[in-house]
Each structure stands twice: as structure tokens, then as C-alpha cells.
Subunit: 165 residues, 2 copies
């Protein structure tokens, strides 16, 4: 099987914020992003899953520096958004497996998720793009997760090559 | 402001499936992907948001051709996964705004989501990557969504240029 994952990336500069229980109707997502873009808050990940009943949650990541201000702004906006709550956590890391050959995510995802499970690292969020599978985990597991994924996807060998080991 | 969105992409070949109410503990995501990769089911998007209490939902997209088989397989696996339900919908479209200059998703996302809201198109799922914001909508709105987003992000002009209009 050709090499599917070519690199493991990680980012511990972000914090996650979730707006809970918003109505699943047109205009709600725009209103939430309107608050953030109006305040010039940079957003990296945006994740919304299908709704349960007529409500759903929306999570996004901002820089740790913007965490407190964003949490406060959205908490103030809860009534106008019709949200049930706003929660957040600045102690997260995003860890990604990157591979341009990934036509499908199934096999790589299974291997990645199993490697994290074997180390008892809980996956808080999952998001994919054509060439990447990203998970959000507790920041304290960043090094363990990156080391484990390097080993599972045989990315250690490259290091050996460059040093002549 | 420099052009942030350079293209609108859409894909109506996929179906979504959600495994509802799975335990938020290590190993669950690996088990679900294990079922799919074991059956050689190709998966495109994988979305999991933060858990409410100790449970969460996991959604992924498969080709419309794999929809029925995947739904059946996961429904059978519900007891072993500890899931509360499995639901799905083959009548979806993924629509994406693509822009390599997107350092942050806020402003572009707000504009994209507002444009869809103005057409009363409900956003079922949201997922982002460095250069892209993707939404899942009802398949019947595909052309309307693509046309609306082309206009909002001034991508119509390009067409005018090539025809000399
Ligand atoms: C929840 C939110 O995404 C809503 N469905 C909307 O279209 O704005
Ligand atoms: C729900 C699922 O992602 C779980 N948290 C896991 O780590 O497998």
C-alpha cells in the first residue's frame, strides 16, 4: 500500500468555544459569525453537526488570546441568538494527519483514532478535508499524540534517514 | 480588500449518515471507522462536535451508492457501539467556498452563511479547512446556492471576462 500519511501537524495556539442549543433555522449561523467578524475575531475551525430535533450546537476555534473576549461576547448574545448556553475550553490541541493520497478517510482515520484510543486519549472533535484528518484533544496529550501518530504511520523512519541512523 | 474567495465547488454524489448518542470515550470513533474501513466503504467528511454530557454524535458522508449498505451495517452495530440511533439522508449537497487567502474564516463565513440565509437555505452541517468553508444543504437547493454564492463573492465577473461580456 502506498504511503497515505506524509506528515503529522499540531497546533496548541487555539481555544474552542461552543454555542449550545441554537435553533436550526436559516440565519443563525450567519448571526453568530457576524458577531465574530464584526469584532475582528479570527476563527479557524467551524464545526456544526446535524441537529437533534430543531436545535444544534456550533463550535469554532479562536486564538487563545481571543478566548475570554469571545466567550463574553457570545454569552451576552445568547438571548438574541436563542442559544441555551455558551461553553469553552482554552486547553486544547488540534492534531492532524496529512496525506495527499487520501482518496477516502476510512482506513487512515481508523488507524489514527485507534492509535489515540490505545493511549487513552479522548477525541473531543473531528473534522476532515480532502488531504487531512484533524482531531481536537486535551492539550496535555499533544506530545504523546504526535509521537504515537508518527510511529503508527511510520514517519519515524524519515528522521532516521536524515541522520543516517 | 483582496479577493478572498476564488471558487465555489459543489458535490451532490454523497449521502450523510449520523451515529447518534455514542459514548464520548476513547475507542468509539475507531470502532465506527473500523466497521467502514473493514467493508471498504469510502468516507469523505467526518464531523464530530463536542459532547453533551457523556455522549456525542458522529456524522460522515459516503457515496450515494454506499448509503443503504452503510446505514444497515451501522444499525446492526448499534448495540456494540452503545449508540442510541443511526439516521441518514441521501438527498444532500456539499457546497464549498474556496480561497487560498483565507487567514481567518469569520468574514467569509458570515457572508456565505448570510447569502444562504437570505435564500432561506438551511445549513445542516459546517466544516472548514485552511482554504475552504463547506456546508451541507438539501440537494434541491444546489443550483440556487451555487448561483447565489457566485454572485455574493463576485465570481460572476470572471465569466463575463472570458466571454468578453
Ligand atoms: C444552525 C445553523 O447552521 C442554521 N441551520 C443556519 O442555517 O443558519
Ligand atoms: C466519540 C469519540 O470520538 C470518542 N470521544 C473517541 O475518542 O473515540
Amino acid at each position: 500500500e502506498k504511503v497515505l500519511v506524509s506528515a503529522i501537524a499540531h497546533n496548541t495556539s487555539e481555544a474552542k468555544i461552543t454555542v449550545l442549543g441554537v435553533p436550526d433555522s436559516p440565519g443563525v449561523a450567519a448571526a453568530i459569525l457576524g458577531i465574530l467578524s464584526g469584532a475582528n475575531i479570527n476563527v479557524d475551525m467551524i464545526i456544526q453537526n446535524v441537529s437533534a430535533g430543531h436545535e444544534t450546537d456550533m463550535t469554532f476555534t479562536v486564538s487563545k488570546g481571543d478566548f475570554k473576549q469571545t466567550l463574553d461576547m457570545l454569552t451576552d448574545a445568547m438571548p438574541s441568538l436563542g442559544a441555551k448556553g455558551v461553553v469553552g475550553d482554552p486547553h486544547i490541541a488540534k492534531v492532524s494527519a496529512i496525506g495527499v493520497g487520501m482518496r477516502s478517510h476510512s482506513g487512515v482515520a481508523q488507524k489514527m483514532f485507534q492509535a489515540l484510543a490505545d493511549e487513552r486519549i479522548n477525541i473531543q472533535m473531528i473534522s476532515t478535508s480532502e488531504i487531512k484528518i484533524s482531531v481536537v484533544i486535551n492539550e496535555k496529550y499533544t506530545e504523546l499524540a504526535v509521537r504515537t501518530l508518527h510511529s503508527v504511520f511510520d514517519l519515524d523512519k524519515e528522521r532516521g534517514d536524515t541522520i543516517g541512523g
